[in-house]
C-alpha cells in the first residue's frame, strides 16, 4: 500500500515549482537614519485562494513588539533574547498612517488590534481589518497602506546600531488565510499569530518589488535581485529590489559595509561523479540533480575582511549540499550580512534569499564559526523559505529539520569541530588542542539538559520554558530525524526528504504531511515512531542488566539417557569437568539480561562477542521490559552491547548500553588524572594568597 502511495507521491513533485502568489507587495520606503525610522507606502495585492468569501484581512505589525514592556514579546522574553538585552528607552513601533482599498473606502478607522494567541490586550502586533465588502473566492483586492516604522536599538533580530540597520518585520504583512483542508483547517480561517519571543515566521508566497531610498553613502542589501539604483537630487539613492516566490522581505544598510560578490558556479562546485552518486542514491536524473548558479553577495564588516573567503566557502557548501540533497536552490541571489559588533542581536537570522551570519574578530581553529551559522541560516531557505512550515505552531519542522540538515552539511564539509572555548575574545584552540565534537554530540548534550520537559510537538510559545522550546525545536527534532535516518537507512531518508521538499516546496505542510511522506517513501508504517518521539515526552533508555559467564558444569544426579539410567556423583562430575578443562574442551554458560528502562519501545540489536572471537547478534523488538539470552559456548563472553551503531541517538544513557567483562580503566585513569591535575593547579594558584 505504501509503495503505491510513494509512486503517487512523486507525481506532483514539481507541482509547486512556481509558488501560488497570494500576497504580492509593492513598497516604496525611505530610510531616515537620523531618527532611525522608515516611512513607506505599500500596495498589497491579495488573492482569496479559498472557496469561501472573506470578510476581513489580518496583518502582522511586528515592530510593535518593541513598543512597550506590555507587549507579548517583551513579557515572554523579559526584554532579552539570545544574550542581548533591550536598550533603555529604545522603543520600536509601527504606525499604520492610512489604509484603504485601491479606489475604495478608507479602512484606517476600522483597524482593530487583536491578540489571538494569548488575549493580551496590550499587544499591538496583529490587526484585523473588516472589509466593506467580502472578497469573493479567487478574487483579488488591492490595499494601499502608508506606514511609519521606528526601529529599536537591535537586540532581537531587527533594529539599528549606530548607522547599521537591519530591516526585518518592518512593514505591515498579511497573515495566512488557511483554506479548508490546508494543514489542520476544516474551514477557511486566518492564521495570524502575535509576535512571540521564540517565533515569527508564517506567511503566504508572493512577489516583492521594493524601492528603498537611503542616503547615497549607505551600502544597501536586501531580499532578491537589485534591479536598479537611482541617484536622487537630495543626496539619496533609491535601490530597487525584486523577488518572486518568497514570503518575506528584509534589508540592511550601513555606510561601512564591504560589499563583495562571488558566483556559486554549479558546474565547478559539483563534479559529474558527485552528480552521478546523488542521482543513483535518490533515484533521480542528472538533470534533476543539477544545481543552478547563484550570485553570493557578502556585506562584511571591515574588521572581518580577512574572513570573506570563509563566509563564501560556507555559503557555497550550503548551496551545494542542500541543493544536491533536497533540490536546487531556485533563487538567483543569496545575500549574507555580517552585523557589526554591538549588533549581535541581528546575527544568525534568516529571511528569503537574505541571511545574517555572525563572527568574531579572531576565529578559532576549525571551531565551526562562522561556518555553522551560515550553513544553518542558509538551510532556512529550504526549511521555512521554500517549504513554508508554520514556525509558530510547528517550530520543529523549521528549526528541527534545519538543525538536522545543518549537522549533515557540517559533517560532510568540515567534519568534527573543536569546542569553541574563548577567553576575552581569544580562541583557546590557538594555544591548545581541544576535544572535537560532532553536531550530533552537541545536539545530544543539549537534549539531555531537559529531555522530558515537553512533548516535542507543541506551539512554540507554549513550551514550559524557553530552554524547553530550544531543545524541542532544535536539538531533539534533529536527533529524532537522525534516529529516523538510522532506522530507515541513509538512502531512504535521502529520498523521503527530497520528496517532501519537492512536494511541499512553496506550500504550507503540517506534521501529518511529513509523516505521510515518510510512510509513503519508506513503504513502512512509521506512525509508531512519531507517536513516541514526536507526540510524547517519553524517553528511551536501554541497558544491560545482569551478565554472567561461568563454566558449564557437568550435571550431577540421575539421568535417563538412551533408555539407560545413569547416576553421576559429585566427584564424577568434578572429575569430568577437570578433564574437560585439561583437554581445553570446557564449555561456558553465558547469561545476559537486556532491560528497557525508558518508556520508548524501539527495536534494537544486541551484539555479543566471546573470547574465541565468536559473535552473536540478536534483534529484540523492545516491547517488554526485558529480555534474557543464554548461550553455551566453548569460551567466555567478552562483552555485550545494545545498539552497537548508536542508531537510537535519543537513548538517554549510552554508558549502560554495554557491559565488558574485564574492567576497562584507561578512560577512568585518563580523565581522573586530568581532573586531579586541574584541581592541583587551582589549589596551588590559590596558595599564592597564603
Amino acid at each position: 500500500m505504501y509503495k503505491r502511495a510513494a509512486a503517487l507521491l512523486f507525481l506532483p513533485v514539481y507541482a509547486f515549482a512556481q509558488a501560488k502568489l497570494i500576497a504580492n507587495y509593492t513598497i516604496a520606503a525611505r530610510l531616515n537614519p537620523a531618527d532611525k525610522s522608515v516611512s513607506g507606502h505599500e500596495t498589497l495585492s491579495w488573492t482569496n485562494d479559498s472557496a469561501a468569501e472573506v470578510g476581513e484581512l489580518q496583518f502582522h505589525l511586528y515592530m510593535n513588539a518593541f513598543k512597550n514592556t506590555k507587549s507579548t514579546f517583551i513579557r515572554e522574553s523579559g526584554g532579552s533574547l539570545r544574550g542581548d538585552r533591550i536598550q533603555k528607552d529604545s522603543w520600536g513601533y509601527i504606525d499604520v498612517k492610512s489604509m484603504r482599498l485601491a479606489g475604495g473606502p478608507d479602512l484606517t478607522r476600522s483597524i482593530q488590534f487583536i491578540a489571538p494567541d494569548d488575549g493580551n490586550a496590550d499587544d499591538r502586533t496583529v490587526i484585523r481589518v473588516p472589509l466593506p465588502k467580502p472578497v469573493a473566492p479567487g478574487a483579488q483586492i488591492q490595499v494601499e497602506i502608508d506606514f511609519y516604522t521606528k526601529f529599536p536599538h537591535v537586540y532581537a533580530r531587527a533594529g539599528y546600531h549606530g548607522d547599521f540597520f537591519l530591516g526585518g518585520q518592518w512593514f505591515p504583512k498579511a497573515g495566512v488565510l488557511e483554506k479548508a483542508g490546508m494543514r489542520y483547517s476544516t474551514a477557511p480561517q486566518w492564521n495570524c499569530h502575535q509576535y512571540h519571543a521564540t517565533t515569527e515566521f508564517y506567511a503566504d508566497y508572493g512577489k516583492y518589488a521594493v524601492d528603498l531610498t537611503a542616503p547615497s553613502n549607505f551600502v544597501v542589501g536586501a531580499t532578491g535581485v537589485e534591479k536598479n539604483q537611482r541617484k536622487n537630487s537630495d543626496g539619496t539613492t533609491t535601490h530597487s529590489f525584486y523577488q518572486e516566490n518568497v514570503h518575506d522581505f528584509a534589508w540592511t544598510a550601513q555606510p561601512t559595509y564591504l560589499r563583495l560578490t562571488r558566483t556559486f558556479d554549479a558546474d565547478r562546485e559539483v563534479g559529474a561523479p558527485e552528480l552521478t552518486d546523488i542521482s543513483r542514491m535518490l533515484g533521480i536524473t542528472h538533470e534533476d540533480a543539477r544545481l543552478s548558479n547563484v550570485e553570493m553577495i557578502l556585506l562584511l564588516q571591515p574588521e572581518h575582511a580577512s574572513q570573506a573567503e570563509r563566509h563564501f566557502r560556507a555559503a557555497a557548501n550550503a548551496i551545494k549540499y542542500f541543493g544536491l540533497w533536497y533540490g536546487r536552490y531556485p533563487h538567483q541571489t543569496l545575500t549574507i550580512v555580517d552585523p557589526p559588533a554591538g549588533a549581535g542581536g541581528a546575527a544568525g537570522m534568516e529571511y528569503p534569499t537574505f541571511i545574517t551570519a555572525g563572527t568574531s574578530w579572531l576565529l578559532g581553529n576549525n571551531d565551526g564559526s562562522p561556518e555553522e551559522v551560515i550553513v544553518h541560516e542558509f538551510g532556512h531557505q529550504f526549511w521555512q523559505g521554500l517549504v513554508g512550515s508554520n514556525e509558530f505552531e510547528e517550530a520543529w519542522m523549521d528549526e528541527g529539520f534545519n538543525t538536522y540538515s545543518t549537522g549533515k552539511v557540517m559533517e560532510k564539509a568540515y567534519g568534527p569541530r573543536t569546542i569553541p572555548l574563548r577567553l576575552a575574545g581569544f580562541p583557546f584552540s590557538w594555544l591548545t588542542s581541544l576535544p572535537t565534537a560532532t553536531t550530533e554530540e552537541v545536539d545530544r548534550a543539549g537534549y539531555l539538559v531537559v529531555p522530558k520537559a515537553d512533548d516535542l510537538w507543541r506551539r512554540a510559545w507554549q513550551y514550559r520554558t524557553d530552554l524547553s522550546y530550544g531543545i524541542n525545536s532544535y536539538a531533539r527534532p534533529a536527533l529524532m530525524m537522525m534516529t529516523l535516518e538510522n532506522t530507515l537507512g541513509e538512502a531512504v531518508m535521502g529520498k523521503l526528504m527530497r520528496a517532501y521538499q519537492q512536494k511541499w516546496r512553496f506550500g504550507h505542510p503540517a506534521a501529518p504531511d511529513f509523516i505521510a511522506t515518510v510512510n509513503a517513501v519508506s513503504g513502512r508504517d512509521m506512525n509508531w515512531f512519531f507517536q513516541q518521539f514526536l507526540y510524547s515526552s517519553n524517553t528511551a533508555d536501554f541497558a544491560v542488566g545482569e551478565v554472567s559467564s561461568q563454566p558449564d558444569h557437568t550435571g550431577e544426579g540421575v539421568f535417563d539417557e538412551a533408555g539407560q539410567r545413569k547416576t553421576v556423583t559429585v566427584e564424577q562430575a568434578s572429575k569430568i569437568d577437570k578433564d574437560k578443562a585439561k583437554a581445553k574442551k570446557e564449555t561456558f554458560r553465558s547469561k545476559v539480561t537486556i532491560l528497557r528502562r525508558g518508556e520508548v519501545v524501539y527495536p534494537v540489536e544486541i551484539f555479543m562477542r566471546f573470547e574465541n572471537g565468536e559473535t552473536e547478534r540478536k534483534q529484540w523488538d523492545g516491547q517488554y521490559r526485558w529480555v534474557k539470552y543464554e548461550f553455551v559456548k566453548p569460551s567466555k563472553l567478552t562483552f555485550v552491547v545494545i545498539d552497537p551503531e548508536h542508531k537510537l541517538i535519543l537513548d538517554t544513557d549510552w554508558s549502560n548500553n554495554s557491559h565488558v567483562i574485564k574492567t576497562k580503566n584507561a578512560t577512568t585513569v585518563k580523565w581522573s588524572s586530568s581532573l586531579l591535575f586541574w584541581v592541583q593547579q587551582i589549589l596551588q594558584t590559590l596558595s599564592a594568597l597564603a
Binding site: D163, P435, N657
Partner: protein
Amino acid sequence: MNSIDALHAGGRQMLRFRKLIVVLYFANLVMAAAVVAPLAMLISGRLGHSLDSDRLFLNFDPSWIMETIYSDTAWPATAVGITLGVAAIVFLLMNTFFAGGALAVFHREDDAFFSACARYFWRFLRLLLISAVFYGLVWALNIGLTSAIDRGRETSMEARPWVMLGWVRIALLWLLLGVVNMIFDYSKIITVKRQKRSALRATILSLGFMRRHIRRTLAVYWMCAGVGALFLLAYHGLSEVLGQASTVAVVVLIAIRQLYMLTRMWVRLWTWSSESHVYNEQDQPVQTFSSTIVAPAPPSLAVAE
C-alpha cells in the same frame, strides 16, 4: 646584592631545602585527591565495564556529562563543589601554616621548621585577612574596568579595540595581583625577620621597603614569575606533543604533570627565598646611637698640696 645575586642565593638555598618542596607537594596532592576521588569513582562506575570507555578515551564527548547528570547515578556536583571549597580553605590555611616554617628556615637555617610554622601561623593568618582587602580592591578595579569595557563595546561598531582593551585589563589584573602578592611576601618576611607581632605594622613596613627598593623587588618577583611561565610553556609543549591518545602517553603525561607541579612548588619557595635575601641585604638595621648623654666627670677640685 643585586636581583640576580638574590635569585642565585635563593636557588642555592632551595638546594638545601628540597624536603620542603616535597612537603608542599604532598599537601597539594592529598587535598586534590580528596576532591577528585568521588569523581574518579563515578567515572569508574559508569565506564569501568562499558564499551563507551573506548570511544571516550579517544575523544571527549560532551553529551557523556549530560547523560551522567541525567542518569540515575547521583551526580555529586554539589558534593564536589563543597569538597573543593573546603579543600581550598584547608589548603590555604595549610599553606599559611607552612609559610611561617619556610620563611623562618630561609632566615635562620637552623630554625625548627614545624615549630616555626606554629609560631607564625596566627600572625600570617592576620596578614592573610589584611591581604584579602587588597585583593578585593584589585578585584573591584577589575570589575569596574570590565564593566567600562563592556559599555564601550556595546556602543561600538568594532570589536577589535575592545578585545584588545580586554587583554590590557587582564594584564593589569595579573600585574596588580602580583604586586599585592609581593607586598604580603615581604610582610611575612618582615614578620619573621623583625619578629613583628602586628600584621598591620608589618604590612606598612613592607610597603615602605618596597617603595625604597621598587626596582629590585619587582625584578626578583617577576623574574621568578617568568621562570614559572617558562616551566608552564615547557609543560604545555610536552603535553601537546604527547597528546593522550594511548595508555602509555597518558601515563607519561601523569608523570610530567606531577613534575610540573613540583616545579610550581619550587618556584614559589624560590621566590620567597630570593625575596628574603633581597630583604636581608637591603634592609640591614640602621646603626642606632644611644641618646643618653654621658656627662663628663667633674674636674677634680682637689688642690695639689
